[in-house]
């Protein structure tokens, strides 16, 4: 008779995955680093000017107030009027930059992906040269160029500048998308009765919409947050975009911290909303478009 084995099962200790833990710790720090200033910004924005200046600081506002927000969003007073004007300027410049960016990047990327033409490689890489230099390097040359074209003190100068900065990435990203769409899909559509253009609009465009959305977010945020060029190219008060406007506006005499913070918070709202709504596409764009299947 076989002896019943009562072998003790060895206690299997799951080895601690140090990499995973290191990653968690790192992410926690990274989150604190980004979230704390945001939290402080929001907390300060609901304090009164007096409470904001107290020392030691009030960690939690004793008398929270939304007055700063009402003031900013009320077009009947001077502050509200100007803030809303800056907000509109920023929105208008960013939106136009985004739309024009898509209008240029989509056909450009498609052409780079589908057509073989002389100078194709050279052109494609020269598009990227802009990204090899920090943006400020182009500040003076572009300023001179804009002055020569008579565009200084117009929103056109900003839109043109933001376009040149945003396009390389947009084209590069979108080309990856078009490379991954089999040419047979367009061919099938053309045989099924579509013109070349219809095949592009009806079949290819919908398939590349995650890429188009991602590049749109990139150019919108880039334009929305830009400071140095707006500061240099614009001097008239009624043309200012938000980053420059806010900074000038609230530091005119003494810094109105709660006012500044609530304006900054309002400025970040469109970007955050954009991201939350479209992040699904954004992630897909960055993972799908980049990798060859």
């Amino acid at each position: 008779m076989a002896a019943i084995e009562t072998a003790q099962r060895p206690v299997v200790r799951k080895p601690i995955d140090w990499w995973r833990w290191a990653g968690r710790v790192f992410l926690t720090f990274l989150m604190l680093f980004t979230v704390l200033p945001m939290a402080w910004m929001i907390l300060t924005s609901v304090k009164s000017q007096f409470a904001a200046m107290q020392y030691p600081p009030q960690w939690w506002p004793s008398e929270p107030t939304l007055n700063n927000y009402f003031k900013l969003l009320d077009p009947t007073n001077r502050i509200g009027r100007e803030f809303l004007r800056y907000f509109w300027n920023s929105f208008y410049v960013s939106l136009l930059t985004t739309i024009l960016g898509v209008v240029v990047a989509v056909p450009a990327a498609y052409a780079f992906s589908r057509f073989r033409f002389p100078g194709r490689t050279f052109l494609f890489f020269s598009v990227l040269v802009r990204n090899m230099f920090p943006a400020v390097v182009f500040l003076m040359p572009l300023f001179l160029l804009m002055r020569w074209m008579g565009l200084v003190n117009t929103h056109g100068s900003l839109i043109l500048t933001y376009l040149t900065f945003g396009l390389p990435l947009s084209i590069w990203l979108l080309k990856g998308f078009y490379d991954n769409i089999p040419i047979q899909l367009e061919q099938a559509a053309r045989i099924d009765g579509a013109t070349r253009f219809q095949a592009f609009i009806l079949i290819v465009m919908p398939l590349s919409s995650p890429g188009i959305i991602a590049t749109s977010i990139f150019s919108f945020i880039g334009a929305w947050n830009e400071y140095v060029y707006a500061y240099t190219f614009l001097s008239r008060d009624d043309q200012m975009t938000l980053p420059v406007g806010i900074q000038r506006f609230f530091t005119e005499f003494a810094t109105d911290w709660p006012g500044l913070m609530s304006a900054t918070f309002l400025m970040s709202v469109p970007v955050v909303v954009l991201f939350l709504v479209l992040q699904k596409y954004f992630v897909r764009a960055l993972t799908e478009g980049a990798v060859k299947h």
């Binding site: 061919q187 099938a188 559509a189 045989i191 009765g193 579509a194």
Partner: protein, 366 residues
């Protein structure tokens, strides 16, 4: 009336002639297989017929129109692609409806036609699914359905079965043949698989290096290959090709092995063909089933050495070295031979093929 005619069709990419002077005519209702090894220009030819790429030269006629400058959409053709090319963001129903929508048919008619095609193809239960939710075989059917919903002048198919597993491929092969029969449709079918071509097609166009080698019925291509390429490409196992010298002794003509010295006397008919050789050399071609194996020297037999023996059940295939060339032969399974055994191969004078040693073209009696 011929439905599709190609005349001196050319396509070059720089100095590479992907399609070189190809001419053939497909009759109405004919199933033509365009066959050849990978890279020989089959897809390019099909794309030229479809109008998906511009021609470098020549003419293409579909129906009664020269279509050289027409867009694909105006050529009245349907196409099935190797990778199916189903629209990934559309449901099966919308995939099938797309060609009809583009032709602005009324909604009710579109629905009726899609339903009818889906029924024929047995995909009615899949209409709401997306292509990626289908198996390979189902995708294949949808691709076929998208071609069938219309009533085109010709169907073009680019290796439609090559992505299916072997069993499904054989099943779809018979089904496709049945479709062709029922619809009486004109089909140009691209494949690299000569067996598919031989079994399905009314006529086959064998291509090699962008050049059309032979355009004929499968029986004729099999029975009278025009050159050594066609001879070795069509048929499995491949036709054996042995390079030999032609020697004449008075009225007698024989073939001599340049290396081993043995001679093979030719029948009068074959002698006349051999005499037409341009440089005194030729290639002897023989299919496995026409050869006879002897265990000892025999008249009209060439000496060889067994290389491999492959029993398959009802027939045994053997490879035998004759004059340095591999000869395929089929044997009765009861024949016992061993690798490295010396054997003699007898050729059937009536069913052997003789090709010119220089041009590789089939020799004709002068």
């Amino acid at each position: 009336m011929a439905e599709v005619v190609l005349k001196d069709v050319m396509k070059n990419y720089g100095s590479l002639y992907a399609v070189n002077n190809v001419s053939f005519a497909v009759e109405h209702g004919e199933f033509v297989a365009l066959v050849g090894p990978s890279g020989c220009g089959k897809t390019t030819t099909l794309n030229l017929i479809a109008g998906l790429i511009p021609m470098s030269g020549g003419d293409i006629v579909i129906g009664d129109r020269v279509v050289n400058d027409l867009d694909p959409k105006d050529r009245d053709i349907a196409m099935v692609f190797q990778n199916y090319a189903l629209y990934p963001n559309k449901s099966v129903f919308k995939n099938l409806a797309f060609p009809l929508q583009m032709r602005k048919l009324p909604k009710a008619e579109i629905e009726a036609k899609v339903m009818a095609a889906a029924k024929v193809l047995d995909i009615s239960h899949l209409l709401e699914r997306r292509p990626r939710e289908l198996s390979g075989g189902q995708q294949q059917r949808v691709a076929l359905g998208r071609a069938l919903v219309r009533d085109p002048a010709a169907f073009l198919m680019d290796e439609p079965l090559s992505n299916l597993d072997a069993k499904l491929r054989v099943a779809m092969r018979s089904e496709l043949k049945r479709f062709h029969h029922n619809l009486n449709a004109t089909v140009i079918y691209v494949t690299h698989d000569q067996l598919e071509a031989v079994t399905m097609a009314d006529k086959m166009a064998v291509m090699h290096g962008g050049v059309l080698q032979q355009y004929d019925t499968p029986a004729n291509v099999f029975g009278n290959p025009v050159n050594t390429f066609v001879a070795s490409f069509v048929g499995s196992p491949a036709m054996s090709l042995i390079p030999l010298d032609v020697v004449s002794k008075g009225t007698e003509v024989a073939l001599r092995s340049p290396e081993e010295g043995w001679e093979l006397p030719l029948s009068p008919m074959n002698a006349r063909k051999a005499s037409a050789s341009s440089n005194g050399k030729l290639v002897l071609g023989a299919r496995h089933s026409t050869l006879k194996l002897h265990k000892s020297a025999a008249a009209g037999a060439a000496p060889g050495k067994v290389y491999t023996v492959e029993p398959t059940g009802d027939v045994t295939f053997a490879q035998i070295f004759v004059n340095g060339a591999v000869v395929n032969i089929s044997l009765d399974p009861t024949v016992a031979i061993e690798p490295d055994e010396a054997v003699w191969i007898e050729f059937d004078q009536d069913r052997m093929h003789l090709f010119d040693g220089e041009t590789t073209m089939a020799l004709k009696a002068a």
